[in-house]
Amino acid sequence: MSDLTNLGVKAIRDGVAAGDFTAREVAEAFNANVAAAKDLNAFIVATPEKALEAADAIDAKRAKGEDLGTMGGVPIGMKDLFCTDGVQTTAASHILEGFVPQYESTVSANLWKAGAGMLGKLNMDQFAMGSSNETSYFGNVLSPWKKDGSNAALIPGGSSGGSSTAVAARLAPAATGTDTGGSIRQPAAVTGITGIKPTYGRCSRWGVVAFASSLDQAGPMARDVTDCAIMLEAMAGFDPKDSTSLDMPVPEWEKGLNADLTGKKVGIPREYRMEGTDQAILDSWERGKEWLRDAGAEIVDISLPHTKYALPAYYIIAPAEASSNLARYDGVRYGLRDLPEGAGLQDMYAATRAAGFGDEVKRRILIGTYVLSAGFYDAYYTQAQKIRTLVAQDFEKAWGECDLILAPTTPNAAFPLGGFDGDPLAMYLNDVFAVPASLAGLPAMSVPAMLNGDGLPLGLQIIGKAFDEQGVLNAGLAIEQRSGFDAKPERWW
């Protein structure tokens, strides 16, 4: 039998349904890859028994001729931001080490209902704060990719870095991610895989450890566009337990896939042509235009004038929301407690949070506390929320001239571990192309485009109108069919 771990979501689901192989064979093959890839540190906890249990249930259903579900027999990786009943959930932090949820997040429950099984909980940047997966309490995740002729360890992107590495290295056919300011798209781009952040509100936030609630959105990461469509369909849906959940039917994205873009206009935002962007990134952008033109689309120049202000606005809004959300970690209800000898309640809070949060998390809590504090609120927070309105209005105006937007996902390829040590600000700039769509709540995806001169993958980003995931997926499919991207990292782990 050929290696089952080279198969994606659709191929596994259809193969299990057709009886080409059993779900148990698939789960065993991926469990073996997970166990053999400890060097990549993609998983915080592996749950091979969960994967087998779900697979056996699918095989039993098939024997009885029952419906297997849209993800039937597909084992996946679950980002450690999703609460999973009875399985440790840490958000890659020390403060939640040992936390075992007594309930299941809506998104993960939806996936299990669709027939998927869990290979384990994926490492990530602590509380989803980071772009390189270097802020996890459980150690760095390594990218399976290496530069040609170099042995230096590269970052897998972040915050969904365990997810990107697991999918790129064939430890899982697909994984969940979450995207607050690029945390699905940036790691997907730098590891040569595909990932989509849907419209804000498509996937329930219930049971997802909160970072910045007005931005947080879950989405799938997989090896191609079709697999993303299948998995997003399984994840999405109205949830009354999330006050910002979209009360709309979930479209049949998989059935709706169509790479013919005749009549579509694709906008090229001139402000995304920034100084300091790699030439190879600009080349991939040019190729992307050609591919979309070839698929029937018309390419038009557009302007998103407030682009340069999106990232600084994000670094006020997201830390402000984080400082509020993370106030819940107090050493009383769950997680770590640090109680110095003779300490009172206030000292316990301060000691617990000092011991439990990593440096980047503390930095953002402090920024957030500052911009929300009396005397500074209007100058920082209110101004940032006004800029957010302007960024969203830029997109609204652009939709008068185009249906979709094509841009790079990142300004550079994967960088070496430690590449931005001591300069958090330079690291933030990695999300410069990803953040505007987050601030506007728009669906956006990254698809692999090509390898750069060093043999590292680069991604292209497609941004769509609110609720038009289908348009985004279709343009992604058009690129995928023309890019011929089939590179995969050579196994060294």
Binding site: Q102, K241, R363, I365, I367, T369, Y370, Q383, K386
Partner: protein, 100 residues
């Protein structure tokens, strides 16, 4: 605008994060770097702009006013809620003495 060491200590205290001298010393320039960078937002004239409150316009929903409308978020789950508490005692969360 930039923050002083004393201001960072005050923010840390508001955020209930204990910081020693070394931690404060390294945090001050990092925060100032970030604050100087976000300063550029002041260039934008926003006098006629409303701050965003909802990224996708939505009406707030009301649920039926019934007890335990959703079993997942309903009552009667004391054991589940206390299961992860660092110091649960007699069905309550335990905390150090708060009488001063």
């Amino acid at each position: 605008m930039s923050v002083t060491r004393e201001e960072v200590a005050k923010i840390a205290s508001l955020a209930r994060i204990q910081m020693d001298d070394a931690a404060l010393d390294s945090m001050v320039p990092e925060l100032n770097n970030i604050l100087n960078w976000v300063e550029q937002l002041g260039e934008v004239d926003t006098s006629a702009v409303e701050p965003m409150t909802a990224v996708i316009p939505q009406a707030m929903r009301l649920r039926d006013d019934v007890v335990d409308a959703d079993p997942l978020t309903a009552g009667g789950r004391r054991e589940d809620i206390l299961a992860n508490a660092p110091a649960a005692e007699h069905g309550f969360f335990g905390v150090p003495k708060v009488i001063e």
